[in-house]
Amino acid sequence: MDYGWAQEYVDFREKVRALVDEHDSPEIHLEYSQEDRRGPRTAAFRKALDGRGWLRMCWPVEYGGEGKSPWYQFILIEELEYRAMPYGLLSVTSVAPAIMAYGSDEQKKRYMPGIWDGSVSFAIGYTEPEAGTDLASLQTRAVRDGDDWVINGQKIFTSGAHSATHVWLAARTDSDAPKHRGISMFIVPIDAPGVTITPMYTMSGLRTNQTFYDDVRVSSDALVGEENRGWYIVAHALNHERVGLAPTGGLGRSFDALVQYLRERRPEALEDPQVRMRLAEMRMEVHVQRALATTNGSIIANGGTPTMEASMAKVWSSELRHRLHSLAMDLLGRYGGLTRESGDLAPANGRLEMIYRTSPILRFGGGTNEIQRSIIAQRGLGLPR
């Protein structure tokens, strides 16, 4: 049991902070808030990250990594989340681990470098109009035709598809098998003929999409892992996704932004013991999130795969996201409702109300919190199904 950090990790965090300081600017955040989340500053930062090898340093040397402890990625993601810097999100934290675990050597060599430098990015193609929480009932089909696969169907909430290079797509390859055992995973280039993307705008301001697959032909090397074993790859990827969705950095940043605003603009509020108690409560809840996130980190660093713990962190962080931003807005009164477009009057540049609007997503995204609680109870505590 050791709650401290070897010096190399402390040094690494300093290096990450120094690089972020060089690239952090209002402009890069503006780029990132645009519909396609791209721009020259974003690209330059991704290039700088890749130049240092930081997104790949925890992977094996033969795939361009350095074989470092997973704690490096943990620290890196926490820092980048705190500063809201772009790093590739689910491509890095969910798809990359799945390709490394299940992909062929050729696929690893082909896709990983691009994931790390930002030239390859994935939209997640799991959900369909009739297959949400009951994901295994998905109907998009892939049929073998000679050496190729031909894909037909429809996905929804394919977030990021309009700026991604590929879709990480789950499709049915055996309609006669039990529904969990007839699914396979494919990597589909977004520009493949037959892929159509139509936007859906959400109340958070973020764009998501419907994607349609109309006789989309991909070669046999688009299949990831074994045919009909895709469900297990999805489960693996979702587990990593849940850990990836639950860093403390973003929540900590909102807390700091709230306190900073109160200190500068509403110092009398900070004199109020009731306000301070509400803030203390939230500080505690953010540290609870740190406890759960770090518990996951420790399991991964010791070579294990968190299941129950990943779900705990996902549930807690997504529900705290709502509580924290809701309280922040309450403490700010009518100012709390002002969006970024209100300019200087909007506290913390509108960050708090904006994240409030995104907070429903993480509660149902990545597997609903109801499913997560069932996972904790059944797989973690061993309760009967």
């Binding site: 049991m1 070897a6 069932s374 309760l383």
Partner: protein
């Protein structure tokens, strides 16, 4: 950063757990509760088996373990609802060993050798750690101390009192003619007392540094006791709902029941991290008052919530005195109050809540 228990800690956990399961049936806990005193037999056994020396140097016949090792022992004892002054004596003895002089340290040797029980006597009628009023006067102490755990059973009290306006700690012998002890009866059903000192002879041990260490250590270990009670209540509940059949199936297969259990487990898991982190940080002199208070606030919250959910899922059987759940809900709530309630501890966090801190504190590793 590595949360896995060390080999020593696994050994402590397994051997204490086996020993308690074998030697301390819950019916014995009921007898001890009725006696109004502590489990003399268990205390003697722990002393003879060397467990009381766990966090002390080998030079004084301890086993050279860490305070985190001690916390593992304390968690197991909390999970068995053992009624012994383990936290009190260890906190007092560790403080004396570290901050006291050689004369004071003889009391520590006496604890390890099996003759002495030392318990802190800090709080007064105002129930505040930061407003102790009793003052030393010519080597003697007069006044009242409240909420002294095992105050009647101890051989010595480690009393907080002012010296020249600064807080200090003094040893007072329980059998001093100036010491009068009245029992208090608590929800936790473990011995507690109000102690009146009337010109009792007091031996100085240490000053404010020692006092602050004592409170931090007591608070961190009390968080571990809360955790132990919550963990045990969760384990009992998982076991119960897996066996209890209604509507033709185990109630643990119902989603509503499963989701309560998931929430309980999440609180226990996070309370575990924060409580042990606080213990570790105190052990390595890295802890701030705010950090320890935050861990205790969460442990206090968690034990009350988890044990109440445990009762909800047990229904009627859970509140019956022959059933073992009440040990953990009642003792758990009492431990939630001890060494600072959730409200007191949150007020400490609130005191500096506008100060910026790192969300990922990176203390130096113990192993390098």
């Amino acid at each position: 950063m590595d949360l896995a228990l060390s080999e020593t800690q696994q050994l402590v956990r397994d051997s204490v757990r086996d020993y308690l399961a074998r030697e301390v049936p819950f019916d014995r806990i009921r007898e001890v509760e009725r006696s109004g005193s502590y489990d003399v037999e268990l205390w003697r056994s722990l002393q003879q088996l060397g467990w009381l020396g766990l966090p002390f140097p080998e030079a004084i016949r301890g086993s050279g373990g860490s305070i985190a090792d001690l916390a593992v022992l304390i968690e197991e004892l909390a999970k068995r609802a053992a009624i012994i002054p383990i936290l009190e004596t260890m906190v007092a003895a560790l403080t004396i060993q570290r901050f006291g002089d050689n004369a004071a340290r003889e009391t520590v040797a006496a604890v390890l050798a099996g003759g002495a029980i030392v318990v802190p006597a800090v709080l007064e009628a105002n129930d505040r750690f930061d407003d102790v009023r009793m003052a030393i006067d010519g080597g003697r102490l007069s006044g009242e101390k409240y909420f002294v755990d095992y105050g009647a059973d101890a051989t010595h009290h480690l009393v907080a009192a002012l010296r020249d306006g600064e807080i200090a700690l003094y040893l007072v012998a329980r059998d001093d003619p100036g010491v009068k002890v009245e029992p208090l009866h608590t929800i936790g059903r473990a011995p507690q007392a109000r102690v009146t000192y009337d010109g009792a002879t007091a031996t100085p041990v240490c000053g404010g540094d020692g006092y602050r260490y004592l409170v931090r250590l007591g608070r961190a270990l009390a968080a571990v006791q809360c955790l132990g009670c919550a963990q045990q209540a969760l384990d009992m509940t998982v076991d119960y709902v897996s066996r209890r059949v209604q509507f033709g199936q185990p109630i643990g297969s119902f989603q509503a029941v499963q989701h309560h259990c998931a929430n309980m487990a999440t609180m226990v898991e996070s309370a575990r991290f924060l409580a042990y982190e606080a213990v570790w940080a105190v052990d390595h002199d890295l802890a701030s008052d705010e950090q320890v208070a935050l861990a205790k606030a969460w442990a206090s919250r968690s034990v009350a919530e988890v044990t109440m959910q445990a009762h909800q899922l047990h229904g009627g059987i859970g509140i019956v005195e022959e059933y073992d759940l009440y040990f953990f809900s009642l003792r758990g709530k009492e431990r939630a109050l001890a060494w600072g309630s959730a409200e007191e501890c949150l007020a400490i966090v609130a005191g500096s809540v506008d100060q910026r801190e790192d969300w990922l504190p990176m203390w130096p590793s113990a192993s390098t």
